[in-house]
């Protein structure tokens, strides 16, 4: 749930998503779900020359499993908090495993 929780805070921020087939898409993150499926709006495809078929795509839904990276706006990430959240998550997981 940590990633879900984390990505939820990035809604309406501009992110760049790199897919496992190397396509990189920049857009406004509209929503994320628990599978980390992603809805993007106002999409810009980087390297549009290579992927002309995407030139008219304005928004898209990306299945979470095809995402390689999500590049985040650094200013929108609260690192200290994220560290704590990670610790909590780890503690939760450890608690569950026990």
């Amino acid at each position: 749930m940590l990633f879900f929780s984390f990505f939820k805070t990035l809604t309406n921020q501009t992110v760049t998503i790199e897919l496992k087939n190397d396509i990189r898409i920049r857009g406004t993150l509209k929503s994320v779900d628990q599978y980390l499926n992603i809805k993007l709006d106002d999409v810009d495809v980087l390297d549009l020359d290579k992927y002309p078929h995407l030139s008219s795509v304005k928004n898209m839904f990306i299945r979470g499993s095809v995402v390689r990276y999500v590049m985040l706006p650094r200013s929108e990430v609260d690192i200290g908090l994220l560290e704590d959240a990670t610790r909590r998550e780890a503690a939760n997981q450890a608690g569950k495993a026990r």
Binding site: S5, T9, D78, L81, E83, A85, R87
Partner: protein
């Protein structure tokens, strides 16, 4: 027996071939004519008895006995006395067996005989069977309407296929007589197949005559006279406008005519005596909105309650167009039309009855429509989910706690970012404080501040509850085996994730084996990387525990409430034990080993960025004594502190490496404010003691070359000055201080020129000027003079250098210098 009253005997068994047409056989239409001609020839001398009906009637109706009509009753809606038909009668199933064939048959039939009516001819069997069903269902059927001659039912296209047409024999014969006379010339062509043109020609020839229109729909089969061509010629008007009109269209139009509101106010109906078919044909579904005007049971109609009247008057409105539509093709004699369509009417009474039942059901279900808002529904859903989760036995903790545990980052983040932030670059400590306080507030019930997020949170909580329900379901030990009572074996299930276990070995509860594998903790050093990091993490988890505890702090206890006091005491106890744990994990109290290469665990702790970051949070949870201990630890180990040790200027390098600079930056942002916060409140004797420690335990000249070292010295010196200014220092303390200060000054004097960053343009040297200012204030006039001499060059350099800089940077540099100059009673302006 036959379900719909069709003759199920095979064609070869059928006594008069061609008389009876079921839907599955397509008789040669002309064979019948030939036969009829034979019959006519046979008795053409008997004019008074042109057709013996018995000749055309296969007597199937007589074959049917009442027992075997049981299903007919069910089919056609009558038969309240048919006990054996249970509520589970599979009406649709039976119908479906022939439904497809019906459609195909109809198409094929009309294709084969372009001129022939889609409406199948009369079927005597049905004639025999139907009258009694129609007669026997006076009360409960709701079909009385259909007996009204003014009522023209719909769905003719389908019903025509049933091949049932009912007409009084007398009228039938009358029509025959009428037919026979004007059409002698047709007889010759009887056996000949006509093309469409020929048919049309015949039609035209007969056009003006009003007679054709009066020809009954269902003549062909029963007609013994050789009038077949004529009949076919006369039929076309019917199929074109009348029966093939899709009934759905008509009904959809009716449905639109009635405001939906009426539907809702329709009074409840008597429960239908028939089981609703499990599946309904599509057109039934489409008709779901049909106003139930014609399904009002007769009893209701007989004595309508006052509220019902308005609806009772509704029916004429939709019915009028329907009547028109249906009547269009067969124009002339409405009375005759009634007779023609009556049997069809009977045939699809059941269709309407089914529809009525369905509508009734829908109506019953829809009475509560719109009572709940979506919010209400959400709320209910949440309650249900909560119960689901509770049933799964997974919520011991409160909702808020669970939310925080599952969705910590989002919750806290939205608290922080949602709130207006006064200082965008709050130090970490404030930030931590902020997020905790805010979380506590909101969870404590002051949620109104975050109104705009409430909907969001709502959905989110839903999601989380679903999540937890799913998780609980996952965790719940699945029934992997089914042991049926009384059986000897077990049935075990398997799925892809948990294949059926072939071996069932029970693990020993005490997993001793696993424990022994783990190496006993090798206590090489308390300062090795791994143990330091472990300490760090336990510090953090303790911190988080403490912060959680803080959030759940019980309200200040009321003196008269022993229970609250008790609670408070327990809470204090917990906090104290956590504090002890934190303190242990910090390793501050580890013995100081002099002259060793391994740094003290706490200093090693501070070497990691997250160790530095932890300090502000730690300081919030420890008391003054612990704080001074930490400060003392830092001061004692000042020259082994990473930000001091690694920041020593290297010859040839203008400034430390990037990593070190970052560490220094972090230290001065995270640790120094906490230390300063403490020092600013510390008693004077502690300051004196700390200064003594610096002089005695560390290489002052070395630490004075680093920013952090100078920073700590500045901190101590300025605090002493403040204490002195405030007059809080006793004479004896001050004497002690001056002694120490003199030692420090003497130690530092040779290196005053070296404490600056090596090059004048190497960057920020403000901290140096601050330190010099702090020294200058506390120094005696003689010391001040020595100080000026020592740093005179740098002052002049900076003044000269600042002249080459842009105005704002120059003034900043000069301002820094002036900080020092003013401390010793001078000003840069004097140097100008």
């Amino acid at each position: 027996m036959s379900f719909f009253g069709f003759n199920t005997t095979l064609p070869r068994d059928r006594a008069p071939a061609g008389e009876q047409r079921g839907i599955f056989d397509t008789p040669d239409p002309f064979a019948e004519v030939a036969r009829a001609r034979l019959a006519a020839n046979f008795r053409d001398d008997k004019d008074d008895d042109v057709i013996d009906f018995e000749d055309t009637y296969d007597g199937l109706g007589d074959q049917l006995d009442d027992d075997q009509d049981a299903f007919n009753d069910d089919t056609f809606g009558g038969g309240f006395d048919t006990g054996p038909v249970g509520k589970d009668f599979d009406f649709f199933g039976k119908t479906a067996q022939v439904a497809d064939v019906i459609g195909e048959e109809q198409i094929r039939y009309s294709l084969q005989k372009p001129g022939a009516p889609a409406t199948a001819p009369s079927q005597p069997t049905a004639d025999a069977a139907l009258p009694d069903t129609a007669d026997q269902k006076p009360k409960r059927s709701g079909y009385e309407k259909y007996n009204d001659p003014g009522y023209i039912p719909d769905l003719q296209a389908k019903s025509s296929v049933w091949g049932m047409s009912k007409k009084p024999e007398q009228q039938f014969q009358q029509q025959l007589q009428q037919l026979q006379q004007p059409t002698p010339q047709m007889v010759a062509q009887a056996k000949k197949m006509l093309s469409l043109e020929e048919v049309e020609a015949q039609l035209r020839r007969q056009g003006p005559s009003s007679l054709p229109a009066q020809i009954p729909l269902s003549l062909p089969q029963s007609m013994p006279e050789p009038t077949q061509p004529l009949q076919r010629a006369q039929m076309p008007p019917l199929p074109e406008g009348f029966p093939q009109l899709p009934p759905e269209i008509l009904q959809a139009q009716f449905a639109k005519g009635v405001p939906p509101a009426l539907l809702q106010h329709q009074p409840p109906m008597v429960p239908e005596p028939y089981p609703l078919p499990p599946n309904l044909p599509i057109h039934m579904l489409q008709n779901a909105n049909l106003p139930p005007q014609h399904m009002v049971p007769p009893q209701r109609q007989a004595m309508p309650p006052a509220a019902q009247r308005p609806q009772q008057q509704q029916p004429p409105l939709p019915q009028a167009p329907r009547g028109n539509n249906v009547q269009l093709p067969v124009i002339t004699n409405s009375q005759q039309l009634m007779h023609l369509t009556e049997e069809q009417r009977v045939a699809y009474l059941m269709e309407d009855a089914k529809r009525a039942k369905r509508n009734h059901k829908i109506f019953l279900l829809s009475r509560g429509n719109g009572l709940m808002t979506p919010q209400d529904k959400n709320f209910i859903t949440r309650i249900q989910l909560q119960q689901l989760v509770a049933a799964a036995g997974n919520v011991a903790d409160s909702d808020a706690e669970a939310v925080l545990a599952e969705d910590f980052y989002y919750q806290v983040y939205s608290q922080i970012r949602g709130a207006p932030r006064q200082h965008p670059h709050q130090p970490l400590g404030h930030f931590a404080q902020t997020y905790l306080l805010q979380t506590g507030n909101r969870l404590g019930g002051h949620g109104s501040r975050r109104q705009f997020q409430s909907a969001d949170n709502h959905m989110q909580r839903m999601q989380q509850q679903v999540q937890r329900a799913v998780e609980a379901a996952k965790q719940k030990p699945k029934n992997k085996q089914l042991i049926i009572e009384g059986s000897l074996g077990k049935i075990s299930f398997s799925n892809a994730k948990t294949p059926k276990p072939m071996l069932n070995i029970k693990r020993p509860e005490s997993s001793e084996g696993a424990k022994t594998v783990k190496k006993p903790h090798t206590d090489l050093s308390v300062s090795d990387r791994k143990s330091v990091l472990t300490n760090l993490e336990s510090v953090y988890s303790t911190l988080m525990d403490m912060e959680d505890m803080e959030r759940t702090m019980p309200p200040p206890p009321d003196e008269n409430d022993p229970e609250a006091i008790q609670k408070h005491m327990e809470w204090r106890q917990k906090i104290r034990s956590l504090n002890q744990k934190l303190w242990r994990n910090l390793k501050v109290m580890e013995p100081i080993v002099p002259n060793t290469n391994t740094p003290h665990p706490f200093i090693a702790f501070l070497a990691y960025p997250k160790g530095k970051k932890a300090i502000p949070r730690i300081f919030r949870h420890i008391d003054q004594e612990q704080r001074v201990t930490i400060l003392t630890m830092i001061v004692v180990h000042l020259d082994s502190l990473d930000v001091v040790r690694r920041a020593q200027p290297v010859p040839g390098e203008t400034q430390p490496s990037l990593a070190v600079r970052e560490a220094i930056e972090l230290f001065s942002q995270a640790v120094m404010p906490s230390l300063l916060g403490y020092v600013n409140e510390a008693p004077f004797n502690i300051i004196i003691g700390l200064l003594g420690l610096v002089i005695a335990q560390t290489h002052v000249q070395m630490i004075s070359r680093t920013r952090i070292g100078l920073g700590i010295l500045t901190m101590l010196l300025s605090r002493a000055e403040i204490v002195k200014e405030a007059g809080q220092a006793t004479e004896r303390d001050w004497q002690q201080w001056v002694e120490k200060f003199n030692v420090l000054f003497d130690t530092l004097e040779p290196t005053f020129a070296d404490i600056f960053p090596s090059a004048i343009n190497a960057g920020d040297d403000m901290y140096v000027w601050q330190f010099l200012a702090a020294v200058g204030i506390g120094a005696s006039p003689e010391q001040q003079q020595r100080l000026v001499i020592a740093v005179k060059d740098r002052v002049m350099e900076t003044v000269t250098y600042s002249k080459t800089l842009p105005a704002d940077m120059a003034s900043a540099r000069l301002g820094n210098v002036n900080l020092f100059m003013r401390a010793i009673g001078l000003d840069v302006e004097l140097l100008g």
